[in-house]
Symmetry: C3
């Protein structure tokens, strides 16, 4: 169940420089390249001449040249030319709308006419000063919704990430889950706890005493089609947690963009936008390395979970309080998907 009429992260701008870049998104082989003005464009990765992947070719003067017989595709998907051939009657390749924004290349796999750049939300961490971002990409052989479940229920940190961000107090605090318009929010507050290793490191980078007692919070927000932004942090105890003055808190947003590849695999663009040491590239690197290691633990669990679910297709799963974030997110996806199936792609309201 993959929503089509949405912006998805396709790749990073630096992936598309002077060579074509191939990626399968929502089961559609796409090739990304830059036109003569340097704008990224995406078209079907299929040469209309003999079916070779266009991504095996090269980019010349803003046109994509097939590496087999030299058919040249313009940035809009039309055939620009081919040696010794009149091409005006050649069929066009489908073009997928793209956007370059917030440090990512975004693609709209659905109906081109419905593609609205304003439909992409303005993420605070990407548009406001005072934030530094670092991140990476994992290919995950699991339904992207398993990753949404994972991120909308951080109980798993106690078990999967015991040595970095997990701590028993996570389990002990109930979560609250709400649906606000088109967003699912699930929150957990752990007051007066010891910071776990990751946050101790962050406090130290921030100039705070890592041994100090803290109030810790996790506020996970799901937006369609598959974005999860998690407001996380610790503040010295008794200053109001997320509302504490910045001098006593260490705050970040865990940024998660899941782009389905197939029904059982996805591209996972993970990262962290932080509010401390924003000019220090070495902190960016340390945080990314730490986060990469932590998220690799999720990857292993999710791929095993997908295999396990595939082996037990008839089996029903439990849905507990802690699962409410995932359950509500899946419910929202289902609703939007039903609407897409009915052709009602413009005016979907959750």
């Amino acid at each position: 169940m993959m929503l089509k009429n949405y912006w998805y992260v396709a790749c990073r701008p630096e992936d598309v420089v002077d060579r074509p870049f191939a990626r399968i998104i929502l089961e559609q082989p796409m090739v990304f390249f830059r036109d003569a003005q340097g704008q990224v464009t995406a078209v079907e990765d299929f040469c209309p001449h003999r079916g070779a992947p266009l991504s095996l070719g090269f980019v010349d003067n803003g046109e994509l040249v097939c590496g087999y017989h030299g058919l040249r595709l313009a940035a809009d998907g039309s055939v620009a030319s081919m040696p010794k051939q009149r091409v005006h009657s050649f069929p066009c390749n489908r073009r997928f709308p793209t956007l370059e924004r917030f440090g990512f290349v975004w693609v709209w796999p659905g109906d081109s006419d419905a593609a609205d750049p304003d439909a992409l939300p303005a993420f605070e961490w990407a548009t406001q000063p005072g934030w530094a971002y670092g991140g990476g990409l994992y290919h995950v052989r699991a339904d992207y919704r398993l990753m949404i479940d994972n991120l909308m229920d951080l109980t798993h940190e106690t078990y999967v990430h015991a040595s970095s961000i997990g701590q028993p107090e996570i389990d002990e605090q109930p979560v609250r889950t709400k649906v606000i318009d088109d967003t699912v929010v699930t929150s957990r507050f752990m007051d007066n706890v010891q910071a776990p290793p990751f946050w101790r490191m962050a406090m130290q980078q921030r100039g705070l005493d890592p041994d100090a007692r803290v109030d810790r919070w996790q506020v996970c927000r799901f937006h369609a089609p598959s974005h999860v932004m998690i407001d996380v942090g610790v503040a010295l105890v008794g200053h109001g947690g997320p509302e504490a003055p910045s001098a006593v808190k260490t705050q970040a947003v865990v940024v998660d963009f899941m782009t389905p590849e197939t029904a059982t695999s996805h591209w996972y663009f993970w990262g962290m936008a932080r509010t401390w040491a924003v000019d220090d590239a070495s902190v960016t690197e340390t945080v990314r390395d730490g986060q990469g290691a932590i998220f690799a633990e999720d990857l292993a669990i999710l791929e095993a979970q997908q295999c396990s679910l595939d082996r037990h297709p008839a089996r029903k799963l439990l849905m507990l309080d802690i699962d409410a974030g995932g359950v509500q997110s899946r419910r929202m996806i289902q609703k939007l998907w039903d609407a897409e199936q009915q052709g009602d792609t413009e005016s979907v309201h959750v």
Copy 2:
């Protein structure tokens, strides 16, 4: 065609110490662990919460803890607890009866109520003094019945194991096959021959002259569901072969437990129980190494045979005298399987 209501070898006791151990048996993912009393138990390898394999978790105080969100499974398959959850209404995981006996962990993949520890025969080599055992495990991508065919017709030794236990005299002696109650027995006696390399080694270990002429025998016994015990040996010529006094003979049991994984793959627990040098661990090692190399030759043939049969599904095979052991064993499996399909699992008589 896999019989369910039988004891199968699942693993060795040392495979299940302080971590959960996963194995697929009769197409069922199982996880083995020890309860608080140290007893091995086996349950479905599937967390009822979100479907992750429980074998990715850990064992704590005799309970199996899911590595994703901490659900704790008791040894009987019921949910013992989960942080902040009331679990009394949670569904149980299926438990598979287990036994630890004769140096193996046994599992009963079928109807739990029918699991009878007394249904497991008491192997002489495992229960009587005067025997030493060594063995190993191969994963074989072939129907377990191809291995039964292989073991119930040792003619193949001349070709597959020409350099170790094969000798032309095997071909030259006819076999006799009988069905006695629930056992298929196929016997071959080679009188007054030169011992092949493996047996020369054994005679030497035994203190007999390896160049002496011997009477050699092979008595293969198939028991349901898939055990083959082969009484093998050589005795100095003219002393009665298997009936010869122990001073002039070198005798062993080739122990073969085949546990189906899928319809076209199985776990092959192979080994040899011997009557000579029973206290000498280095002899155990030498014999096991030799046997491992010999049985790897079978593995290569059987996997190629399975591929070949898959490519020729309509082709009929020849069934010769020498195949009688395999044919009778398969006939017995078919009969027992038909009975299982009719729900007649208790009172099967062959």
Copy 3:
């Protein structure tokens, strides 16, 4: 769509010396071995006893001995003997007619009675003096007809082989395609051009000035079922191209035998028969290395093209002038295949 009643290249004579040689041809596992007179024979690679591949066994005195239980197959596919068995009633294995000719072993996968050695054309380069041949084999995971398309339209050289035999002038010259009896011929002539790197090397080996302007030609000939012979060369400008006297030209035949393995894979026997330096083995080696590297570029494209076509089964391809050679070849294959399906295997006329 694979034509059965034709001679296909199976392997090289040196592949079948004293051991059985296995190859799947037209989806049929075959085993090749030499009879007591040294003649190559081919039979089904399947032991009628227990279905093991016969190719795992050995050859003894012109008979193929199964490596499992010693069944002996005669060169005509009948069972010659088996230890302790009377074999006169055993079923025969199917035998595939074979020929050893022109440096290859040929096999006829279809109706044995229709196999006519005279149906194999006498290639000039293989039967006349003044030619030297070198070549190799690639396994290609693509429909063999994609290779025919490739070879019957050399426009791709400009793109796929830009650094060796490609040159812009190829694109600029139109091709002419004709069907003459059972042959499709597609020709391109490039007059007064600079020789590309491969031909510069050849001119040098030939004693001609590699910087001289040349007339270059490519005449591709397809014969059923899947042979493509390409007459290629360069002659000093103005001497008549392919008709020029041999002192001023460098001429070769690119020899391409495609033998289908499955519907989407084939064995590609590629080579070059040349008319210069025919006694110099080092030139044979240099040419083969160069050609091997060039054809590996095709292999990469074709396997990607096959994947791409598999992902877009409903998509129609363009058929341009330059594709006429492939289109006509496929049309001929279709016609012959229709005739084979109607059982009209003897008197097929295109």
